[in-house]
Structure formats: C-alpha cells, structure tokens
Symmetry: C5
Subunit: 359 residues, 5 copies
C-alpha cells in the first residue's frame, strides 16, 4: 500500500509526504487540494480508499482488480471516477501493451491509482515537488496534467510503430519471409490495441470538455478539449499505421505468389529446353539396324551443333520475351502525383475568374 | 414443473420451499419479496405462470418455447420481462453455446426461469438459503445478483477461448494443417456467437441503468451500470479474440502458400540439376559411328567428374542464394515497440516545456 | 379479380362471400369490420380498389405493379398502407424468393392483396371461416394475425437453409468441388435476400408497436412488439447462416490450396526419386570404350540393388517427415471451450466475495 | 443557349415557344406557371439565368460548370435549387454514366437545365405540348414529373445490368477468362456509380417529402414520397447486383485455382506413370556385360507387357480415385430451400395453437 | 518570423506591408479589417501571436508545432481558430502529402499561418494587392477566399491521381509486375490520405455554413456551403479512385494467378508430349537380344513418323481445346449497359400511363 500524498492548503502552503491520518484530515477539510497517488495497488488499498474517502465500492473494485478495464467515466455526484489508458512502457510483450490510470476527481482532491510505474505520473510528481505549481490551479487542472502526460506518452510508441512499419515495408519488397508476416501481424495487433483503447477514451474526453460535469470548471474545459484533439491525432496516426499494415499484407501475399511464379518459370524453361533434346539423344541411342544417320561422317557433330543451337535459341527467345526476367521493367515516375506548376496556374486563373464573378 | 420458491416477509422472516398455494398467496400479498425459480421448463409451466401470476401470454410463450430468443427487455407496467443470456457450460457442442435466463421482475417478486441448470442461479440460491441476505435488499437487487452471476460466468469461457487461440496461433506457425483451419473456424464461430448475444445485452443493461424503469430504484442503478461495464469488457475481450482468429487465418493461408513454394523449389532444383546431365548421358549413349570422345581413354571418367562437379556447383549456388532455405533469416527485434528510456525523457521534457507555457 | 370478402357486423354477425356491392356498402357503413382479400392481382383490381374504397392511386399502383416493392408503411390519415414480405414457398428458383403482401388497414376494414397464393393468408381465412373469431377483436388484430402468420412462415425456410448449410459444411471438408462453391453462393445469396427484406420490415414493425399510429390501439401494441421480436430472431438466425456461408467459403478456398499442395508433393517426390536414377541408368548406357564397371561381374546387380535401396530410402524418408501424409495428425480436443467445473467454482467463490463486499 | 419556354397563365391559357423578353415578363408577373428548359448549357446560359431570374451566382455556376456535381438541394428562400442525377443513355463509355438535371423550383416557375439530351425531359415536354396538363397543377407537380421521369429511366439500365450479370455468372462457371474478370469489374464499377448517385438522391427526396420546404405543397408530398420509394427500390436492386458481382469474383478466383489444380494433376499423373517406366527402359539400355535378362527369349516382350500393364493399372487407379475427374460428382438438389408442404402444415398448426392461446 | 500584413481601414483605404507595431495598433482599433499572413512558422511566431493578439496558448501551440494536426474548428468566443488542410504541392514524397493552413478569424481580423508556401495564399495575396477587393467584404469573406482557394487546389492533384489510376489500370492488364503493385499501393495510400483529411474538413465546413458561429454573417453562409459542396465532390472523386485502386488490386492478383496457370500449362504440355516419346526411344534403346522390330527395314523410319505424328496430334489437340491459348476468346459487347432506344420508349409509354392515372 505505498502511496505519495501532497496537500496544498487554501493559503497556498504545500505539504508533501503526508501519512494516512493527515490525508484523511485534509480530505475532510474540504478545502485546498489533496493529491494522493497510490501505486502497486493491492487488496489493502481497497480498504484504504473505502476507509478514508468513502468511495463507492464498485469504483474501488475497479481500482483493485488486476483485470484491465476499458476507459470510462462514472459520475458519483460529488466526485468523478475515471479509467484512462496509456502505454505500458515496461511491458515485456512483443505487442504494444496498455496500462490503466484510475483517477477519483473531486473539487478538493485527486486520488490517482495505478499498477505499473508510469513515466507520466512520475513527471507530474516531480513538477509538484519542484514548486507545487501543478496543485495551485485546482483539481481539474491537476487531473488534466495527469491525463495529458499519459496521452502524450503514447506518441513515442506511435513513432516506434511507424519506424517498425517502415522496416516491414522494406522487408516485404526486398525479401518477404514467414518472419515478415509475423512482424506484420504484430504491427496489426498493436495498432488494433491502441485503437481499441483510444476510441472510448475519445468519448470520455469529449464528455469532459463539454461542460457536462460541474467539477470541471469553465476555464479548464479548453484544456480537456486539447487532450481530446491529441487523442484524435493519435487515432489518425493509428489509422494510417493500420492501412500500412494492410498494404504490407497485400504486398506480402502477392510477393509470395510472384516468387512461386518465377520458380515455375525456371522449371518450365528447363523442361521445355531439355525434354526435346533428351528425346533426340534417345532416338539416336536406339538400336535399330537401319538408321542411316548413324553412319554419316558428320552426324554426331551435326546433332551436337543442332542441340547447342536449340539451347541458345530457346534461352535467347525466353530472354527476349523477358520471361525469365519478369521483374521491374518499367518504373513508374518518381513523385507521380506532383502537379506541373503551369497547370496549377491554369487552375488558379480559372478560380480567379470564378471569384471575380462573386463580386 | 419443478420449482424452488423463497419468501421474505416484510418483517424479515424467510420461508423456503413454498408450494404453489403459498406462492400465490405471497404473490397476492404485494408485500415482502417472493422469488420463484423454475427449471426444466415445460408447457405446464406456462399454465403455472398464467394461473398464479397472470403474466402476459406472449411473455409466457417466450419462457416456454424451446427456441432461443435474443436478449431483450419488455416493460409490462407492473413488471419487467427480461431475457438474458449466459454461457451454457453443459453444452455438448464444439462451439460455445449460450443459454437463456428469463426473469419477471416486479417490486415484490422475482420469477426466474431456465431450461438448463445454471451455476449462477445455483450460487444465488445457496446465498439465499445461507442467510436470506440476497432477498433483504429488494427485487431489483436480487435480479441484479442473478444477472451479475450469469454474466460473470462468461469469463471462464473467454479465458478458455483465449487459451485455445494461443494454441491455434502456435499450431499455425509450427505445422498448419486442415485441422488447424477447422479450429480457427470453431474459434471464429464461438466468438461471433458470444458477440451476437452480448451486443443486445449491453443495450438491455444500458436501459436498466438509466432510470427508465421505476421498478429499479435509484440506489440499484449503479449496480446495473457495473454489470453494463462488465459486458463492455467481455465484448472488448471478444473483439480481441476475433482479431486473433482473423490473423491466424491470414497466417494459415500464407503458410500454405509458402509450403507450396518450397515444394516447387525442390522440384525446380531437381529438374534443373538432373535434366541437363541426363541429356549429357543420353548424348554419349547415342550410337553414331563417328563419336571421337567415346574412344578417349579418360572420356568416361572425365564425364563422371564433369557431372559430379556440376551437381556440387549447382547445389552450392542454390545454397548460397538461400533458395532452398527460404526461411527465417532475419528475425525482427524482440519487443520491437519498446521505447528507449532516453527518448522518452526527451518527450517528457518537451511536454514539460509545453505545460510551463500554460502557466 | 378474384377476391374473398368477410364482414362482421357491430352486432357480431359474420357474413362471408360478399359481392362487390355488399363490400362497398359495408365499407361505407364505417361500422363493424370488413376484410377483403384479393389474390392474383391484375390491373382490374386497381380499378376495384379505387372505385370502392377511394384509396390513393399511388398505393393502388404499388399493389397492382408486378414489380417487387421493398417493405414499408405509409400513413394516409384514415388508413395505413403496408407492404410486408414473406417467403414465396411456391418459388421455382434455386434461391430463396420473397413475396409481397399489401395491407390497407383502417379502423373498420382490412383490405389485403397478394400475387402468389400464401399459406399464411389461407390459414387466417380458415380461422375466420371456422368461427369468425379473428374478426371480432378489430382490424388491428386481424392485420396482426396476417402479418404474424406471414413472418412465422419464414422459419421453415430458415430451417431448410440451416440444413443446407450443414450439408455444405460437410461437403467442403470431405470433398470440395466446383458444385460445392456454387452451393455456397446459393446459400449466401438466399441469406442476403432474407436479410434485405427483414431489415426494413423490422423498422416497419418497430413503428407499428410504438403508438405512432392511432389506428393500432393500445392493447394491440404488445402483439406487434411480439412480431418485431420474431423478426429480430429471424435476422439473428440469418446472420449466423451468413457467417457459416463465409466460413465455408474460406474453408473451400483453403482446401483447394491444400489439394494443390498435395499434388505438387506427389510430383516433387516422383521427380526427386526417379530423375537421379534415370541419370544413373543413362550413364551406364553410354558407349564409352573405357568403362571399367561394365565389365564387372556384379556391376549390373550392384546397380539394381543400389537403385532399389535408393527408392526405399527416399520413400521412407518422405514418410518419416510426413511429407506425403500432410493431413490430420493432431486433432484438437473435443469440446475445446468446455470449462472445468473446479475452475468454475473458483470463479464463483471469487464472485461471492465480491458480492459480500457490497453488503 | 437554346431553350424551350412554356407559360400557363392563371386563366389556364398555355403559351409555348416564348422568347427571352416574354420569359422575363412571365417570371416577373409572379402568377401562373413558367417552365424554361435550357439544354446544351454554355457560359452564355449563366448570363441568361442571372439577367432574367436573378438566381444566386453559386447556383448558376453549378449549372454552367461542365464538372459533375453530386445530387443536392439548396434552399434559397424564394426558390429551391436541385441537382438530380439520371442515367446518361447517350454515354459512350463501357461503364454506366450518370447525367445531371438542375432545377430551379419556385412557386410560379420551374427552370430546368441539362447538358445531355434527356429522354425524360423530352417526354415531359411532349406531355406539356399535347395538352398543357403537366403545367396546370403547379410548379411542385411539374418538378415532380421531371424528377420521376428521370428516376424511372434508371430502371431499363438496371435491367440491362441484371442481364449482363447473368451472362457473367454463366461465363464464370463455363469458361472463366481474363475478359470475364474485366466484365465483372465493369459491372462492379457501374453498380458503385449508380449507388454513389442514388444514396444522396434518396436524402434529397426524403427532405422534399417531409414538409421541410413550403414551396412543395401538402398535396404534392405524397408524390415525392413515391419517388423516394422508387429510389429505395433502385438502391435495393443495385445492392443485389453488387452482391452478384462479388460472388462472381469469388467464383472466378476459385475457378482459376481449380483449373490450375487440374493442370497440376495432369502433370503429376504423366510424371508418375512415365518416369518409372523410362527408368526401366534406361536400365535395360545399360551396357553391362553381365545382364542375364537381355539374353532371355521373352525378355523384351515381358518388359513391354509389364510396361503396358503398369500404364493401364495406373490410369485405372487414378480414374477410380476420380483424381482426373475432379469435377461435378454430386449435384446439390434443385430448389434446395423449398419446404415440404407437410412440414409447412405442421408449422401452421403450431402457430394456430399459439394464436388460440391469445384469445 | 516573416509575415505580410494588410489593413483595410473602415474608410476603405488599404495599407500594405505593415510592421509589428502597426499590426498591433490595427488589431486593437477593432475597426476595418486586418490580414496578417505568417509563413515559415517558428517558435518566435508563437511569441508574436501571443504578444500582439493575445490568442489562447493552446491554439498558438497548434500553429507553432511542426506536427500535423487534423482539421478542426475551435470557438474561442471572440474569434474562431481553424485548421484546414490542402495539398502540399511542394512535397517530395511519392505519396500525396497534405499541408496545413491555420486561420484565426475575428470580426475585424484574419490571421493566417502556414509552414509551406501555398499557391492558394499567394493567389489571394495577389488579389488583395491588386485592388484590395478581397478585404472589402469583411473577415468572413477573406477567410472564405483563403479556404476556397486551398480546397480548389486539391483538384489538380485529384486529376493527376486519376491519370495515374488510368496508367495503372492499363499496366495491370497488359503487363502486371511487382512495380505495378507498388504503384497501386501508392495510389491507395494517397487516396486514403486525401480522404482522411477531407472527412473532418467536411464537418468543419458544415458547421461553418450552419449559422453556428455569429462571426460568420448570414450573407457569407452560402459561400461556405459552396466550399462544403466542393469538399463533398472531392470526397466523391476520391471514393471512386479508391474503388479503382481496389479493382486494380483484384485484377493484379488474378493476373498473377492466370500467368502462373499458363506457365503450368506449358510445362504440362511439354511433359505430356515428350515423356511418352522418350520412353519409346528408351525402349528401342534397350539391349535385349530378341527385339524383332530392330531388324525391320523400316522400323526406324516408322518410329520417327510415329513420333512426329504424335507430336503434331498432341499440339493440334491442345490447340483445338484452346488449352494453350486460354485467353481472350469471347469479348463482351462494347457499351454493354446501353439501352436500346425502342426499349426505352416502351418504358416511357408505361410511365406516361402511370402519370395519366394521377390526374
């Protein structure tokens, strides 16, 4: 039941490192701002929360349960209960993992709670310890700082995913293998996981920035709107990663088909060249008594020349038809969608005419 | 027509094992709380319900019919009729089966009805028999207990499905076979079935937690909201299982293509090596009279050495081009989405700057 | 212009087999309940409807037109015009066909109209002729009886489709062929057709059970709600058939790929075994003068034994690597999603603890 | 700037072939009904519209611009501006093309405008010239006549597409080729184009039939509702064509895979039969000195018989396993979804029992 | 921190090239119209915006940040903050890039800000410098001019994409290669990017044309509606490009399969012809002592003729069955969806009858 507690009195004096008693006293004073951050949550913390703050046991259960809960906001009248997700930067899995931050937000207190250490909470803690600034503006601003830091910390992971997508896209063109497919699948699952968490979060932030809850004051709304915009942007980036993963999958499957095609061509070419020649050799290996060619002086050399010519001719013909080099012949233009400036001017002058008409 | 009946009088005395007459009397007293649980429902139960409680015959028909009805809530004024689905843990099928619990919920009675024995009802029965506790808080709390137990019992099945998905994912990489495909299909169908039942249930619980029905009192709403949250979580887990099944299918199909590719390569390699050599042997098997090589002292050994060299050269070349080992060459990094802590700090300091600006 | 007409006077006397004049008189009396069922609709029926009842010509046009109209409800103030679809059990096509029943519903009349004979209308007719019962409760109940019978008659077709899906699923595993694919496509198209008709119908019935139209009296609403529930169930069953068809298609395509794989393997095996041996035989068929082996006493038998050994070794090796038996090796467990009762109890006891906390 | 103008005076006298002056006078009288139809629209028409009617220049721009605009309705207070799409029956492309009809609708005037000759406008023109009827009922009815005719003219194209789909479906089973694929793609693109235009049109007509615009009088609403229903039906037919195109594509791809499979089987069969026999012939072509069989009297004939027997045995075996005839073995029943009348009666009697219970 | 500033005094005098002081003065006068366009935005510009105009720091942060923000509109009471996207015509990437234009719109000022030089802003600048016209009608009209120019400049890129799609469609039929696939993917990603930006923009413009913001006056609404219509059209064109890219992908994959099929056929044909003949030659190459045919005078020639005949027969047979020419046999009709005018007339006359009925 480790926790850190800070209290900013109405007079602007900050106290840090409060014990349980002081926390309870500060909570019941209904003045100033109390912040308690509980980490490594255990069953005992449930009792702590019930005993000192009298929160609803269903909300407490959500905090204590080791199961991941989807993001949500519950309005209990005198306080809000929030479940917000960020990236678990300590996750050991090959897939992006999310982690949960629970916040009880009242006018005079913010109780946060999480299972994994969070860089974002650490950062806000440091900001508070430095100069108490983050506590001065009220609970809604402190909660905003926590949520904003959590959401912002998703971006480095999105960047990582973007780099990974790039590697995958290169691999899939250069040398597609089973492991490339697995990488695509990992990317896809990670993207879906981020999306699954961001979509309800967007709804939560949308409600928080809509004057629905009186605990969030007018002047804080625009900040919550800003977090909302960040989530929209993250969803946007996620969507574009999803498209890239899908495209990589299409390219992968088609590359496998192309490779198979090339193997087939090698086989067909070899068979087409050597089967007839083998028949020819077989014919002159027959033991008929009356085979005039066998007695010809230049028969053997003639056959050898014939065979050599046939091989060269066949290979040349396949080469000419590019059969064996069924690869990049025509490369599409670089920057294919760039518009010629002259053409663009034409458009603008047309547009000018139209605008003039509106005078 | 087997049933179990319990009655909690307004004075707090609990009676168990009531007969039909006592049930009717308790029902008509409109006081206390009556709970009747009917199992192994037959046609006769329809008469029982009509005779004693006077429920609407359409609702009774829904109870009696052996057909599965989708989850719903019907408001008949003085009582609600609910159809809720849980997992049929006794199902014999290879696909996850759901089962139905029907509840008539009035202010002074809860009549539940089901065809298959349900662990969840059993559990609530035991809780009632132990100390009557579950009856004391009213019909809406009893109905909540029944529904909550039913929904909670979905989780072990979701866990089982998750384990199954893991096995399938391993199989699909290690040794994809026709039976793997069938397993994927079973998983998919089970997931879809759970989703099909949870989606309307979510709507039902949403309405129940929204003060739409006066029978559910203010203080019970938050509990129904909690069940609603559980359903959202189950849907979430189901969705992630669905994604895994889809990914497994993609991987399966691509593995089949890869295997085919490898078979083709073996074939092409064998043909490319042996066809030319067979031609060579064929040539020296021809019966021309004038074939000078045949008379050479070392002709035969020369040819043997030539052939051996060709085989070794070809195999080496294929090996060098990794043609025959078109498998895991480059493995993607472990934990590919893990962010370097240094980089993360960079982000945080940037973020700090931004926060400071907001002062 | 064949029609059947029934009239229930306000005094409760039923007359059957009315002619046009009597129909008109009954219609204009605005008392009792008139039911006219027109079948084998022709242009003349349009005149009949306009002349006697003065319905809006657009509604009449919808009745008369041989084109199929999507389900809808039009409110013309003093009467409703309904288009409802059921299954055409007389359809000759391999795909499920729907058929249309048009109903004009007023307070004192129900005019129904259809092109194909309908089992459901036949049944209601018989019920009316037997004892006039269905007419006694008013027009909204008669219309309900007609619609309910029509919708209920969709179920046997859904059952048939379900049986068909089962056959297809077996075929697709046991012996997928082109005809299996065609069967899947027929199933898919039938399912889509049923869905296309049920979706707008659901909307129509939803509106009818929502007190939107005063012609449908309070006491009839719950019956329309019941039909609505049936449609929801049919849509549900249809959706599950759709999933099964999709899964069958996936399985089919993957089976074709698997079969091709096996053919390839046979080919690759044969080539790998016989090509080297043919080369060997070719070598000893060469006509070099100095080939010491040819003179060896046991050369020939040695070669024969060598070849035999090679064939046996290769086949054994392929067998051992299960290359030629790339089929059901490991079967997934039966009832893979069944939860161990012990585990279930664990869940229940956890749940109990949670419930106790709520006391 | 060719146009045709008709004017119906309030007294009911119709004038045709009005010049610009008369058009302007009629427009400014704000009485009767003026219809001007402008075709082959050029820049000059923009001036004409601005000069005489004073329409908003943005609407005029939409009329004049050669670019296709999506269907929409703009309310400019005293008049509505409509963009409606129909089929361009004169289009030269292989894909279905749509064309635009712009309508300015006021209480006393309808100004229509289009680039391509339209059969539907032609038809309304003729109807007006015949007896002026279409002008007598007011601007909303004239606009309805124009829109209805335009939408109705979509149906013959839908019929054509349906025929085309049938041909494609046959082709895809009988002899799938690259050109079949192209045909499927053409169908798909055409269907999508029709859908793209119908969807917003549905919204436009929905708004027009909803008493949103006072220019459309109460008595005309039902006619606009009728056009709305037609559009719904066209969308429905389009959707079913879309499904058929998708199914054809699935069938096509699977047919290609099946054909490949059959080619592979031929190859594998030929190789399996002839490779071992060629080895056998090679063995007896070896030049070992000690090969006892070579001296046997019946050795040669024995070998020939052995070879013949092997070929016959192999072919029979492949035949028996239906390997080479991997085609229509079992045909699914004709009318697979037809319900047995006896079974249907069973359902009806069950249903009767249920209905009786409701008495 | 380069910027251009223009000021139109209430008296209608335009000043250009204002410095920071004059800008601030003009801004604080709250009269006339001030336009400041900031390009090549740096951190310093953030200070500039805060110092002179006192904008909200969150909006300023959005301007200054190098990250791309999704389109949005924020209402700060006395001003609106807009993020609008256009095409980055200077982008170096192979994918279409978008670029951002930020606008602060108040009653008496428009502050625009962008990172890349924009043709559209350039054009409006020129229009302002020419005659100050664009400033005379107020801030909402100036903002409209900027947005309209930006959106209009998307069209040349859409045209380019359309041309590109055409090239891809040709390539995919004529000679599908890996590079064709890459081109399809580029097209798809570009289309998705345009769509991703246009969809929220549509919402922004919809709100701006809906009298939601008092800063945009009644008379300007129709112009914003017009921009909205343009965006709808661009989305429409984008959607059709998306369909074309998807179709091209389907065609590509099927072409690869077809090519593979043809390669297989060549292989199977060659093997079917030459393997039996090689066996035949092998048979007569055996060294049995008793092979009567070997002594026949015409044995050798007979065999040669037999072989020749067999080859010719096989090739003819394959040719006759079109096996080797599995390509365009039957071409579908040109303009397959064109309706016969006669048929169309039939439809029209039917329609006429219907219309007459409505009289």
């Amino acid at each position: 039941m480790p926790f850190k507690a800070y209290y900013m009195s109405p007079e602007g004096n900050m106290e840090a490192g409060l014990g349980e008693k002081e926390v309870k006293a500060a909570f019941q004073s209904k003045k100033g701002l109390l912040w308690v951050d509980i980490y490594d949550t255990t069953e005992a913390d449930g009792d702590f929360l019930a005993r000192n703050f009298g929160f609803h046991h269903l909300a407490i259960e959500d905090c204590v349960s080791p199961l991941i809960r989807p993001p949500k906001i519950d309005d209990f009248g005198s306080y809000l209960f929030l479940v917000i997700h960020g990236i678990n930067h300590m996750g050991e899995s090959d897939i992006v993992e999310t982690t949960e931050l629970n916040i009880f937000l009242g006018s005079h207190f913010v109780i946060s709670n999480h299972n994994n250490p969070l860089y974002s909470v650490e950062y806000v803690t440091k900001m508070v310890e430095d100069d108490g600034r983050a506590l001065r503006r009220g609970g809604d601003f402190l909660a905003y700082a926590l949520i904003d830091a959590l959401i912002d910390n998703v971006l480095p992971t999105i960047d990582k995913m973007s780099d990974f997508a790039e590697t995958v896209e290169e691999e899939v063109i250069k040398s597609p293998q089973q492991s490339t497919l697995e990488a695509i699948m990992k990317l896809k699952r990670s993207v879906i996981r981020v999306h699954r968490v961001m979509a309800p979060q967007r709804e939560v932030l949308n409600r928080m920035s809509r004057r629905e809850f009186p605990i969030i004051r007018e002047e804080a709304l625009v900040f919550y709107r800003d977090v909302y915009d960040h989530i929209v942007r993250i969803e946007d980036l996620g969507q574009s990663l999803h498209d890239r993963a899908d495209n990589a999958l299409s390219t992968y499957l088609s590359s496998v088909a192309n490779r198979q095609n090339e193997t087939m061509k090698v086989l067909a070419t070899v068979a087409t060249i050597f089967m007839p020649l083998t028949l020819l050799a077989g014919i002159y290996g027959m033991n008929f008594e009356h085979m005039p060619e066998l007695k010809w002086q230049w028969g053997y050399f003639g056959i050898l020349i014939l065979m050599g010519t046939a091989i060269i001719a066949a290979v040349s013909w396949f080469w000419a038809r590019k059969w064996l080099a069924w690869t990049r012949r025509r490369v599409f233009a670089v920057r294919p969608f760039a518009v010629d400036p002259e053409k663009l001017k034409g458009y603008i002058s047309q547009f000018a005419k139209r605008q003039r008409a509106q005078k």
